[in-house]
Symmetry: C2
Subunit: 76 residues, 2 copies
């Protein structure tokens, strides 16, 4: 199954910083292919690689409750 908006979150954050996938790849240190697979919603990615990207945005992976309406992006 798709990975809970994580892909959309990354894409939105990247766009908000006006970065291309190539630039995000360079800045985060992960491969370009990884950035693309991440934004496309691949679910078998490695935790450390995802965190490497999220760290640029000031985020990291953590356990969040299901059921709760997290459809709203509270980036305010």
């Amino acid at each position: 199954m798709k990975n809970l908006d994580l892909n959309e979150f990354v894409r939105a954050k990247r766009k908000s910083l006006r970065l291309t996938q190539v630039e995000l790849s360079d800045k985060s240190g992960v491969g370009l292919r990884f950035v693309r697979e991440l934004e496309r919603g691949k679910i078998t990615l490695r935790l450390d690689k995802v965190n490497q990207v999220l760290k640029l945005f000031g985020y990291q992976l953590g356990a969040v409750q299901l059921n709760r309406n997290t459809l709203l992006d509270e980036t305010s």
Copy 2:
């Protein structure tokens, strides 16, 4: 302050349900070795496998903010 690490979270949740690693392995469908590596804090795990475990607790992986110096911790 660190937001309860994923490995500690899993272990705490498992203990609260009075499950052994073997039982968690069976119920979640991941291998026993994976459960142990997860609770030991291995960072190169796969997203889908971690989510397979978290789902049992009603959680899943998501992007959470770093540098949360506010005191509104909902940690048990």
